[in-house]
Subunit: 111 residues, 2 copies
Protein backbone atom coordinates (compact mmCIF):
# COMPACT_ATOMS: atom_id res chain seq x y z
CA UNK A 1 0.00 0.00 0.00
CA UNK A 2 1.41 3.33 -1.03
CA UNK A 3 1.98 6.06 1.52
CA UNK A 4 0.13 8.54 -0.64
CA UNK A 5 -1.16 9.30 -4.11
CA UNK A 6 1.25 8.52 -6.95
CA UNK A 7 2.16 10.19 -10.23
CA UNK A 8 1.79 8.07 -13.39
CA UNK A 9 5.56 7.61 -13.43
CA UNK A 10 5.54 6.42 -9.84
CA UNK A 11 2.67 4.04 -10.58
CA UNK A 12 4.70 2.60 -13.44
CA UNK A 13 7.74 2.18 -11.27
CA UNK A 14 5.72 0.45 -8.56
CA UNK A 15 3.87 -1.78 -11.04
CA UNK A 16 7.10 -2.91 -12.67
CA UNK A 17 8.17 -4.53 -9.43
CA UNK A 18 5.36 -7.03 -9.97
CA UNK A 19 5.03 -6.91 -13.74
CA UNK A 20 8.44 -6.13 -15.24
CA UNK A 21 8.22 -4.69 -18.72
CA UNK A 22 4.97 -2.88 -18.21
CA UNK A 23 4.75 0.28 -20.32
CA UNK A 24 3.65 3.79 -19.42
CA UNK A 25 0.79 3.58 -21.95
CA UNK A 26 -0.84 0.84 -19.93
CA UNK A 27 -0.65 2.99 -16.83
CA UNK A 28 -2.40 5.89 -18.55
CA UNK A 29 -4.93 3.60 -20.19
CA UNK A 30 -6.00 1.99 -16.96
CA UNK A 31 -5.81 5.23 -15.03
CA UNK A 32 -8.29 6.71 -17.44
CA UNK A 33 -10.64 3.76 -16.98
CA UNK A 34 -10.31 3.98 -13.21
CA UNK A 35 -11.06 7.70 -13.24
CA UNK A 36 -14.01 7.34 -15.56
CA UNK A 37 -15.55 4.65 -13.41
CA UNK A 38 -14.90 6.49 -10.17
CA UNK A 39 -12.39 4.01 -8.78
CA UNK A 40 -9.58 6.55 -8.64
CA UNK A 41 -9.30 10.25 -8.16
CA UNK A 42 -6.84 12.93 -9.09
CA UNK A 43 -4.91 15.13 -6.68
CA UNK A 44 -3.23 18.19 -8.19
CA UNK A 45 -0.42 19.93 -6.36
CA UNK A 46 1.71 22.86 -7.49
CA UNK A 47 5.00 22.01 -9.10
CA UNK A 48 4.49 18.40 -10.13
CA UNK A 49 2.17 16.42 -12.34
CA UNK A 50 -1.08 15.15 -10.90
CA UNK A 51 -1.13 12.22 -8.53
CA UNK A 52 -3.78 9.54 -8.35
CA UNK A 53 -5.15 7.32 -5.62
CA UNK A 54 -7.81 4.67 -5.29
CA UNK A 55 -11.15 6.03 -4.23
CA UNK A 56 -12.08 3.09 -2.01
CA UNK A 57 -10.23 4.58 0.91
CA UNK A 58 -11.62 6.20 4.00
CA UNK A 59 -12.13 9.94 3.60
CA UNK A 60 -8.77 11.56 4.23
CA UNK A 61 -6.40 14.34 3.22
CA UNK A 62 -2.76 14.86 2.33
CA UNK A 63 0.52 16.31 3.49
CA UNK A 64 3.34 17.27 1.16
CA UNK A 65 6.86 17.66 2.48
CA UNK A 66 8.44 20.84 1.15
CA UNK A 67 11.81 19.17 1.30
CA UNK A 68 11.50 15.69 -0.26
CA UNK A 69 8.17 16.48 -2.01
CA UNK A 70 6.74 13.16 -0.86
CA UNK A 71 2.97 13.19 -0.41
CA UNK A 72 1.52 11.39 2.62
CA UNK A 73 -2.03 10.41 3.46
CA UNK A 74 -3.44 11.79 6.69
CA UNK A 75 -6.22 10.47 8.87
CA UNK A 76 -9.28 12.46 9.78
CA UNK A 77 -10.84 15.70 8.67
CA UNK A 78 -11.40 18.96 10.54
CA UNK A 79 -15.00 19.38 9.34
CA UNK A 80 -16.82 22.66 9.63
CA UNK A 81 -16.49 23.39 5.93
CA UNK A 82 -20.12 24.22 5.38
CA UNK A 83 -19.49 27.34 7.41
CA UNK A 84 -17.12 28.54 4.67
CA UNK A 85 -19.58 27.92 1.86
CA UNK A 86 -21.27 31.09 0.61
CA UNK A 87 -25.02 31.53 0.56
CA UNK A 88 -26.55 29.78 -2.45
CA UNK A 89 -23.51 27.57 -3.12
CA UNK A 90 -23.77 23.80 -2.85
CA UNK A 91 -20.82 22.02 -1.28
CA UNK A 92 -20.18 18.56 -2.73
CA UNK A 93 -16.59 17.71 -1.92
CA UNK A 94 -13.41 19.14 -0.54
CA UNK A 95 -9.70 18.66 -0.56
CA UNK A 96 -7.22 19.67 2.11
CA UNK A 97 -3.47 19.69 1.62
CA UNK A 98 -1.01 20.48 4.37
CA UNK A 99 2.50 21.61 3.55
CA UNK A 100 5.55 21.43 5.77
CA UNK A 101 8.31 19.05 6.66
CA UNK A 102 7.97 15.33 7.16
CA UNK A 103 9.54 13.50 10.08
CA UNK A 104 12.42 12.17 8.05
CA UNK A 105 13.44 15.49 6.54
CA UNK A 106 12.90 17.25 9.80
CA UNK A 107 15.37 14.91 11.40
CA UNK A 108 17.94 15.41 8.65
CA UNK A 109 17.65 19.10 9.17
CA UNK A 110 18.49 18.88 12.85
CA UNK A 111 21.62 16.84 12.31
Amino acid sequence: MASGPLTPAEILEAARKRVPGMGIATVYRNLKLFLRSGLAREIALPGSSSRYELFNLEHHHHFQCRDCLQVYCLHGCPGGLHALTPEGFVLEEHEIVLYGRCAGCNLDYKM
Copy 2:
Protein backbone atom coordinates in the same frame (compact mmCIF):
# COMPACT_ATOMS: atom_id res chain seq x y z
CA MET B 1 -10.39 42.91 -7.82
CA ALA B 2 -10.71 39.38 -9.15
CA SER B 3 -13.15 36.96 -7.58
CA GLY B 4 -10.45 34.34 -7.31
CA PRO B 5 -7.01 33.24 -8.47
CA LEU B 6 -6.35 33.55 -12.19
CA THR B 7 -4.54 31.47 -14.79
CA PRO B 8 -1.75 33.20 -16.74
CA ALA B 9 -4.09 33.50 -19.72
CA GLU B 10 -6.75 35.12 -17.55
CA ILE B 11 -4.19 37.49 -16.09
CA LEU B 12 -3.19 38.50 -19.60
CA GLU B 13 -6.78 39.06 -20.62
CA ALA B 14 -7.42 41.17 -17.55
CA ALA B 15 -4.22 43.16 -17.93
CA ARG B 16 -4.93 43.97 -21.54
CA LYS B 17 -7.98 45.94 -20.50
CA ARG B 18 -5.60 48.43 -18.94
CA VAL B 19 -2.50 47.88 -21.05
CA PRO B 20 -3.56 46.82 -24.53
CA GLY B 21 -0.87 44.97 -26.42
CA MET B 22 0.69 43.35 -23.39
CA GLY B 23 2.23 39.98 -24.23
CA ILE B 24 2.00 36.66 -22.44
CA ALA B 25 5.76 36.66 -21.85
CA THR B 26 5.43 39.69 -19.62
CA VAL B 27 2.78 37.93 -17.59
CA TYR B 28 5.02 34.91 -17.01
CA ARG B 29 8.06 37.09 -16.34
CA ASN B 30 6.37 39.12 -13.67
CA LEU B 31 4.56 36.14 -12.24
CA LYS B 32 7.90 34.49 -11.68
CA LEU B 33 9.23 37.57 -9.93
CA PHE B 34 6.13 37.77 -7.77
CA LEU B 35 6.39 34.13 -6.81
CA ARG B 36 10.07 34.32 -6.04
CA SER B 37 9.61 37.32 -3.80
CA GLY B 38 6.60 35.88 -2.05
CA LEU B 39 4.08 38.41 -3.39
CA ALA B 40 2.02 35.80 -5.17
CA ARG B 41 1.25 32.14 -4.71
CA GLU B 42 0.21 29.28 -6.90
CA ILE B 43 -3.01 27.30 -6.60
CA ALA B 44 -3.11 24.01 -8.50
CA LEU B 45 -6.43 22.36 -9.27
CA PRO B 46 -7.10 19.22 -11.29
CA GLY B 47 -7.99 19.75 -14.92
CA SER B 48 -6.68 23.22 -15.57
CA SER B 49 -3.38 25.03 -15.44
CA SER B 50 -2.27 26.62 -12.20
CA ARG B 51 -3.85 29.80 -10.97
CA TYR B 52 -2.12 32.61 -9.13
CA GLU B 53 -3.17 35.19 -6.59
CA LEU B 54 -1.54 37.97 -4.64
CA PHE B 55 -0.29 36.93 -1.26
CA ASN B 56 -1.16 40.15 0.53
CA LEU B 57 -4.67 38.95 1.15
CA GLU B 58 -6.19 37.77 4.37
CA HIS B 59 -5.76 34.04 4.91
CA HIS B 60 -8.50 32.32 2.96
CA HIS B 61 -9.43 29.33 0.82
CA HIS B 62 -11.17 28.54 -2.46
CA PHE B 63 -14.26 27.07 -4.01
CA GLN B 64 -14.41 25.71 -7.53
CA CYS B 65 -17.72 25.30 -9.29
CA ARG B 66 -17.93 21.91 -10.97
CA ASP B 67 -20.16 23.42 -13.60
CA CYS B 68 -18.59 26.70 -14.76
CA LEU B 69 -15.14 25.89 -13.32
CA GLN B 70 -14.89 29.39 -11.87
CA VAL B 71 -12.76 29.60 -8.73
CA TYR B 72 -13.99 31.81 -5.89
CA CYS B 73 -12.25 33.05 -2.78
CA LEU B 74 -13.85 32.13 0.53
CA HIS B 75 -13.60 33.82 3.90
CA GLY B 76 -12.39 32.10 7.02
CA CYS B 77 -10.69 28.84 7.84
CA PRO B 78 -11.92 25.87 9.85
CA GLY B 79 -8.66 25.48 11.79
CA GLY B 80 -7.85 22.35 13.74
CA LEU B 81 -5.31 21.19 11.19
CA HIS B 82 -2.56 20.50 13.66
CA ALA B 83 -4.67 17.59 14.85
CA LEU B 84 -4.21 15.99 11.42
CA THR B 85 -0.45 16.41 11.39
CA PRO B 86 1.43 13.21 12.22
CA GLU B 87 3.94 12.98 15.04
CA GLY B 88 7.29 14.45 14.04
CA PHE B 89 5.89 16.39 11.08
CA VAL B 90 6.05 20.19 11.03
CA LEU B 91 3.02 21.97 9.62
CA GLU B 92 3.87 25.20 7.82
CA GLU B 93 0.94 25.95 5.54
CA HIS B 94 -2.25 24.51 4.22
CA GLU B 95 -4.64 24.79 1.33
CA ILE B 96 -8.33 23.95 1.31
CA VAL B 97 -10.42 23.69 -1.82
CA LEU B 98 -14.15 23.11 -1.81
CA TYR B 99 -15.89 21.71 -4.86
CA GLY B 100 -19.55 22.00 -5.73
CA ARG B 101 -21.89 24.32 -7.50
CA CYS B 102 -21.85 28.08 -7.34
CA ALA B 103 -24.97 30.16 -6.81
CA GLY B 104 -25.28 31.10 -10.46
CA CYS B 105 -24.99 27.59 -11.84
CA ASN B 106 -27.19 26.25 -9.09
CA LEU B 107 -29.88 28.68 -10.19
CA ASP B 108 -29.54 27.72 -13.84
CA TYR B 109 -29.94 24.12 -12.86
CA LYS B 110 -33.23 24.72 -11.12
CA MET B 111 -34.80 26.57 -14.01
